[in-house]
């Protein structure tokens, strides 16, 4: 399953502080969208509003509409926990659960929610998720070993497998490769290409080559100064953003003349 995301007039706050102002964006299903922009411009903050992880921080909230196939995530009575099982998230630093084996990490979304699952279904889910994350061949002989024993790149792919096992509609990735070496980065990027066939993928990255390699569309976020809110400056096809942007700020940023 895969769903499209339409954001209307979204304002994101930390307490009284307006962090991201008035975002309107339409993200197609089965596509990869990259968010780029300088540090502190609110792209990660905005990403976290797409699965209501933003409000985990005390005092943080968002106003506006985020529609997942027409259903408002911020509508009255919507349970953020339900939203998060539909919109998965991969974090900047690999964070497998240290008390669990590789197998249990993949099954975490099922087991932590105390859902009943038969042994054979669990085995099938572990295998398909790990295969989907291109990790199966590396770990199939040591599924009962702790996840923390893997390398950084393997841990990150384990986290992606863990996210896929919940069968979300959308996968959000917050700088998933910034803690990884180039080889692991390529492994993750290849994976993102494959994920696109099943999921809507949104990725925050600081690496502009990466955005060009993986993304169908790219959104450029910017901030005018400290204390000012971040804004979505331009959103277009990746090729347009990097070769023929309509905004001066975008051109400056992608060509390295930022600041």
């Amino acid at each position: 399953m895969s769903k499209r995301i339409d954001v209307e007039n979204l304002n994101v706050y930390y307490g009284d502080f307006l962090a991201v102002e008035d975002v309107n964006i339409n993200i197609e299903s089965r596509s990869v969208t990259a968010f780029i922009g300088p540090s502190g411009c609110g792209k990660s903050t905005f990403l976290r509003t797409l699965n209501r992880m933003h409000e985990v921080i005390p005092g943080a909230y968002a106003k506006g509409k985020v529609m997942l196939d027409g259903e408002d995530l911020y509508g009255k009575g919507v349970d953020p926990v339900t939203v998060r099982s539909m919109v998965g998230m991969v974090f900047q630093r690999p964070n497998p659960f240290p008390t669990m084996s590789i197998r249990d990490n993949v099954l975490a979304g099922v087991k932590l929610n105390n859902k009943k699952i038969s042994r054979s279904d669990a085995d099938a889910l572990v295998e398909s998720s790990l295969k989907g994350a291109n990790l199966w061949n590396e770990v199939k002989d040591r599924l009962d070993k702790p996840g923390s024993g893997l390398s950084g790149g393997q841990q990150q792919r384990l986290c992606i497998a863990r996210t896929m096992a919940v069968k979300p509609d959308v996968v959000l990735m917050d700088e998933p490769c910034s803690a990884l070496d180039p080889i692991s980065t390529i492994a993750i990027e290849d994976l993102i290409h494959e994920l696109k066939e099943q999921f809507t993928v949104v990725i925050v990255t600081h690496n502009m080559q990466q955005a060009q390699r993986v993304a169908d569309k790219t959104a450029f976020f910017n901030i005018e100064g400290t204390g000012k809110p971040g804004k979505l400056v331009e959103y277009d096809d990746t090729a347009t953003i990097f070769q023929n942007p309509s905004q001066k700020a975008t051109e400056d940023y992608v060509s390295g003349r930022f600041g």
Binding site: P58, V81, M86, N95, F97, T99, K111, L150
Partner: protein, 371 residues
């Protein structure tokens, strides 16, 4: 080839990088000299082990840095001075500890026997003690009732304080968000940490006095008093452990669509359980030796009473107190004193075993590593 010829020719050449260093024998030599001079100085004022040790230490602490300074300069000299001061402070700190353990072992071990561990003080009168003291026998009677009483009361105190302390810590770390209630609880827990144990005893005694009439004595009141003392320790230990669980793990769990209480129960607590368990064990070790609150709430009893809801009980600390302050045979207090030391040894063994258990628990529950 050139390397091999060089290494051959360079072996007799002195390495310039090692010049200007003190010879290896310098500090040991200063130490020997300090011990000798210390002995001589001590002999001048009437020889004693204590003065000998003090004089030797002071001389060494002054002479060794001076010797190092003259050879290696003031930077190495002050390094040496501080190093030796740190060692001296460490030795000073460890002396009382070893001395206590040594004294308790020396005086307690002769009393310990199967009899001492399996009998009570029931039927041990002044005449029996007097006879044993005259015959030079092992002291009659035993501490079974005190051992069982300590175990029972500590068990109930743990049963009360661990859930309360654990849940308080979970509220503080996971739910309070530093709101006013959280701040008030933190402040009160800090205040409770400093409550003198006798005050906790008075509190429990007065509380049950109101409910069951004055001068009620039973094990459960002592357990409540110990609970008052244990809760802040458990809260603090658990709080610290929960705080060091990385926030990323909580977020990872939330992002999988897991509810907060399940995240706490299945991710946060399992990740920190080793620290929590060892903190709880140390809290038990902390209250197991409390005397004052038990004297005013539980009293003392010569025979086994395992019912914490009825009547007086014996515990190891009150047993020691009774044997020392009210010897069974006032004219022959030696058997009573011996029994006190025996009970003290059992108490110390209890605490040591609890500490070991804490370490084992920490190891057993620690997040697994390995490939």
């Amino acid at each position: 080839m050139s390397i091999s010829t060089q290494s051959k020719s360079s072996s007799p050449v002195k390495n310039s990088l090692t010049s200007g260093q003190r010879p290896k024998w310098l500090v040991p030599a200063v130490m020997v000299a300090a011990v000798v001079v210390g002995a001589a100085l001590s002999a001048l004022i009437g020889f004693g082990i204590a003065t000998w040790a003090i004089f030797s230490a002071v001389i060494f602490l002054i002479a060794a840095p001076i010797a190092v300074t003259t050879i290696e300069g003031s930077r190495k000299g002050s390094d040496a001075a501080l190093t030796y001061v740190v060692y001296a402070a460490f030795i000073l700190a460890i002396i009382p500890l070893i001395s206590v353990i040594w004294t308790v072992l020396v005086r307690g071990v002769p009393t310990i026997s199967i009899d001492f561990l399996t009998t009570t003080m029931g039927g041990i009168t002044g005449t029996v003690d007097q006879a044993a003291a005259n015959a030079g026998d092992r002291p009659p009677g035993g501490a079974l009732q005190a051992i069982l009483g300590t175990v029972a009361i500590t068990f109930w105190a743990t049963l009360f304080s661990v859930p309360i302390g654990l849940l308080t810590a979970i509220y503080l770390v996971e739910y309070s968000n530093d709101n006013w209630l959280g701040k008030v609880i933190t402040f009160l827990v800090d205040v409770m940490t400093g409550v003198p144990s006798i005050v906790a005893g008075l509190f429990a005694s007065a509380l049950f006095g109101l409910m069951l009439g004055p001068n009620t004595r039973m094990g459960i009141i002592g357990a409540v008093a110990l609970t008052v003392l244990m809760i802040p320790t458990v809260v603090k230990a658990t709080e610290e452990m929960l705080k060091i669980v990385p926030n990323e793990l909580r977020e990872a769990s939330y992002a999988l669509g897991v509810r907060k209480w399940r995240t706490i129960l299945k991710v946060v607590i399992p990740t920190s359980i080793s620290g929590i368990a060892s903190g709880v064990t140390l809290a038990i070790a902390r209250v197991i030796g409390e005397t004052a609150p038990l004297l005013v709430t539980v009293g003392y009893f010569e025979r086994v009473n395992l019912n914490v809801f009825n009547d007086w009980m014996a515990t190891l600390p009150t047993f020691i107190y009774q044997q020392l302050m009210r010897p069974v045979a006032p004219t022959a207090p030696d058997p009573s004193t011996d029994r006190a030391w025996g009970a003290a040894l059992i108490l110390i063994v209890f605490v040591m075993v609890l500490n070991l258990i804490a370490r084992l628990i920490a190891k057993a529950f620690a997040p697994k590593t390995g490939r």
